[in-house]
C-alpha cells in the first residue's frame, strides 16, 4: 500500500519524474518512430481555434487537423487532472505561486502578464524549432549540437526574464 501511495498520492522525488519523462524518448521511437515533442502541436490548435486555414505553413504542415499531436496535448491535460484528483487537490485556483501572492495584481493584469509570456513561448518555440521537450530532452538525449545550443539560449532567456520580473514586480523578495 505504501508503494501505491507513493506513486499515486504523494509528490514524486525529482529522479522518479526524470526517469518517467526520459523513458518517453526511446518508447515513442520504439512504438511510433516519432520524436518526443509538444510545441509543434500548437499549430494544430491554431488551425482548430483561429481562422488560419489559408496560411501556407498551416496548410502544408498541418494537413491533418486532429493528428496524434492533439491527442498528446489532451493526454497531458488529463495527466495533470488525474494527478490533482488522486492527490486530493482538485479545484480551480487563481493562484500562481509567489507571483500572485507577492505582486497582488488585479486578475485582468495577471491574465495579460501570463498571456504575454505565452505569446513569447509560442513564437519562440516555432522559430527555435522546438521546446523544452523536443530540444532540451529529446534533442540533448540524442546528443544533437543544435539542441544543446538552443537550450543554452532558452536558459539565458529564462534567467533574464525571471530576474527582471523579480526586481520589477516582486520587489526583489524571494
Amino acid at each position: 500500500m505504501f508503494i501505491l501511495r507513493s506513486i499515486f498520492v504523494e509528490p514524486w522525488p525529482f529522479w522518479a519524474g526524470g526517469i518517467v519523462i526520459g523513458l518517453l524518448v526511446p518508447l515513442l521511437y520504439y512504438y511510433f518512430n516519432t520524436a518526443l515533442g509538444v510545441s509543434t502541436g500548437y499549430g494544430n490548435l491554431v488551425k482548430i481555434f483561429l481562422p488560419a486555414k489559408n496560411l501556407q505553413w498551416i496548410k502544408t504542415k498541418y494537413a491533418e487537423t486532429f493528428s496524434w499531436r492533439v491527442y498528446f496535448i489532451i493526454g497531458i491535460i488529463l495527466g495533470g487532472l488525474l494527478s490533482s484528483i488522486l492527490s486530493g487537490n482538485l479545484g480551480i485556483t487563481t493562484e500562481m505561486g509567489r507571483f500572485t501572492a507577492i505582486a497582488g495584481w488585479p486578475g485582468i493584469l495577471n491574465a495579460v502578464f501570463f498571456f504575454v509570456g505565452g505569446i513569447l513561448l509560442g513564437l519562440g518555440s516555432r522559430i527555435a524549432g522546438g521546446c523544452t521537450s523536443g530540444h532540451s530532452i529529446h534533442g540533448i538525449a540524442n546528443l544533437h549540437i543544435s539542441s544543446i545550443l538552443v537550450t543554452i539560449f532558452f536558459i539565458i532567456g529564462g534567467i533574464v526574464a525571471a530576474n527582471i520580473v523579480r526586481s520589477l514586480f516582486l520587489g526583489g523578495a524571494w
Partner: protein
C-alpha cells in the same frame, strides 16, 4: 498500438509525471531561474540521461522498431533564427513560469492563469505562421 490512442496514453503519463515533480509549479520554474530551487534541473538532467541510455538500448536491441521500419531520429537543424528564437522562448519561460508541456498540466490541475499562457501560446504560434508567409528563412 493505434498512434492516436498511444499518444493519449503517453500524454497522460507525461502530464502526471510533470505534475508530480512540481514542473507545473510557477515557483519551481522561476525558482530555478533565480537560483533558489534546482529540483527541475534534477528532473531534466535525469530525463536526459535516461533518454540517452534508452536510445542506446533501442539502437542495440530494438532496431528495426516495432513497425518493422528502421529507426528514424529527427534532427532539428540549426537555422539562421534558431538562437534568437531560443532567447524569445526563454523570456516566455521565465515570465510565465511554464513551457508548452507544463502549461497543459497546469490547466489539468485547475490553474486558471495557465489558460492565459495557453491562449498566448496559440496566438504566438499564429504570429509565427503569419511571419512565415513572407519570410521563408524562419
Amino acid at each position: 498500438m493505434n498512434k492516436k490512442l498511444g499518444f493519449l496514453v503517453f500524454g497522460v503519463l507525461f502530464g502526471f509525471a510533470l505534475s508530480r515533480v512540481g514542473a507545473s509549479e510557477y515557483d519551481l520554474i522561476v525558482g530555478m531561474f533565480i537560483g533558489q530551487d534546482y529540483t527541475l534541473v534534477g528532473v531534466m538532467v535525469t530525463a536526459i540521461i535516461v533518454g540517452a541510455l534508452g536510445m542506446q538500448v533501442i539502437k542495440k536491441f530494438a532496431e528495426p522498431v516495432k513497425s518493422g521500419e528502421p529507426l528514424r531520429i529527427s534532427y532539428k537543424e540549426l537555422k539562421k533564427w534558431s538562437i534568437p528564437g531560443g532567447l524569445i522562448f526563454g523570456l516566455g519561460w521565465g515570465i510565465s513560469g511554464a513551457c508548452p508541456g507544463t502549461v497543459l498540466a497546469q490547466i489539468g490541475e485547475g490553474k486558471l492563469f495557465g489558460l492565459f499562457t495557453f491562449a498566448g501560446m496559440i496566438c504566438g504560434t499564429y504570429i509565427y505562421a503569419r511571419l512565415k508567409e513572407n519570410n521563408t528563412e524562419l
